[in-house]
Symmetry: C2
């Protein structure tokens, strides 16, 4: 599975969060990073469309500006998603949203300061996925990156990499498989035999439980 | 009450709907039209902010592009709504949305092709109103203007003018007052004494009914 990350951030190089994400991607195979404001000569629409066609999971990554994406990404969407593309070219692909927030995520609910949930505010992106015949992934919100502890950032790194590359996100078995593959791929991955063993043992135990459950049912 | 209409349409002069709206405004006092793509030299942020401050009802008027406004308007919002302005400068004003649609309005509901309502898709604008302490007006949708009959266009003209200028939109009495003022203001307004008389008679009749109802209650 190939993943394309379209990033829109007017102050990309000054953003700690965006730099963190950029570094997180470097070790991942099959992930392409495409920073819109960084395209010095602008873009050719057909090249952007080709980029979309040649990937399976499309991620739109941006800071929330007035409850939507920055205008640069909106311009790109208006330009690139021509009827020729959206009618056929994106069918069956996935659309994910990585949105960075200046305030705590808990503010996005009825009764709190922002009043609406992220799912509600980003509905236009869900509608785009719908129109293009794409599968809309759960939103990946990142709030107040600058205030995160190192521990939190480590967790974020793993969650972000999974969001970008894990097949069938919702399944626990897939999450486990993904972790094993990533551990094995790490430089010096041989250092982690204990972790790998432990995951494998847990897996065997879970498989046994599944089998036992199935026999009881029969 | 002063109304500011911020229009964003990349093909403004080719749009029949936008030209219709432009002409509808010419006879209205206290309505300022501000077409973003028509500002040849761009804009100064503080001048735009001054414009907002000096009006009471702000209308954002645009064609729906990918379930939101064109990028030009998004850029303007990102630029102009600085924290200095939104924290104080817009409090108590009204925010209205005139959105033109390429498909029938009935498509915007659960189970129909666009799946979500206009209220849901334009939630980010409601959230902006909320953040700025403004009153959000009911959305004014205009679908498939090009296919409208002359009769429909006449109705649209009156409804549009009301949306822009009528104080306290929800009240029937105000709607009536607005109509009388507009009729009297028309060039050659003296031609409509019969209509004005008829409205006045209806009003007297309704007042009598109200009085009767009140007496019955007591």
């Amino acid at each position: 599975m190939k993943t394309l990350v379209i990033v829109s951030h007017p102050e990309y190089w000054q953003s700690g969060g965006q730099q963190f994400f950029r570094e997180s991607i470097t070790t991942l195979p099959d992930v392409t990073l495409h920073h819109l404001e960084g395209l010095d000569k602008g873009y050719e629409i057909y090249e952007e469309q080709e980029l979309l066609r040649s990937h399976d999971r499309i991620i739109l990554q941006f800071p929330m500006y007035w409850y939507s994406c920055p205008y640069t990404l909106k311009k790109w969407l208006d330009d690139v998603l021509t009827s020729g593309l959206y009618r056929e070219g994106l069918k069956g692909k996935e659309l994910g949203i990585v949105v960075t927030l200046g305030v705590a995520e808990t503010n996005f609910q009825a009764g709190a300061s922002e009043r609406y949930t992220l799912s509600e505010l980003l509905r236009p992106f869900e509608a785009i996925a719908n129109k293009c015949g794409m599968t809309y992934l759960p939103i990946f919100p990142v709030s107040q990156f600058a205030y995160m502890s190192d521990k939190k950032k480590e967790e974020l790194l793993v969650a972000y990499q999974r969001y970008l590359t894990q097949v069938n996100q919702a399944s626990f078995v897939n999450r486990e498989k993904w972790l094993v593959t990533r551990l094995e791929a790490l430089e010096g991955g041989e250092k982690y035999p204990l972790i790998l063993d432990s995951i494998q043992q847990n897996r065997d135990y879970l498989d046994d439980l599944h089998l036992a459950l199935k026999e009881m049912e029969e």
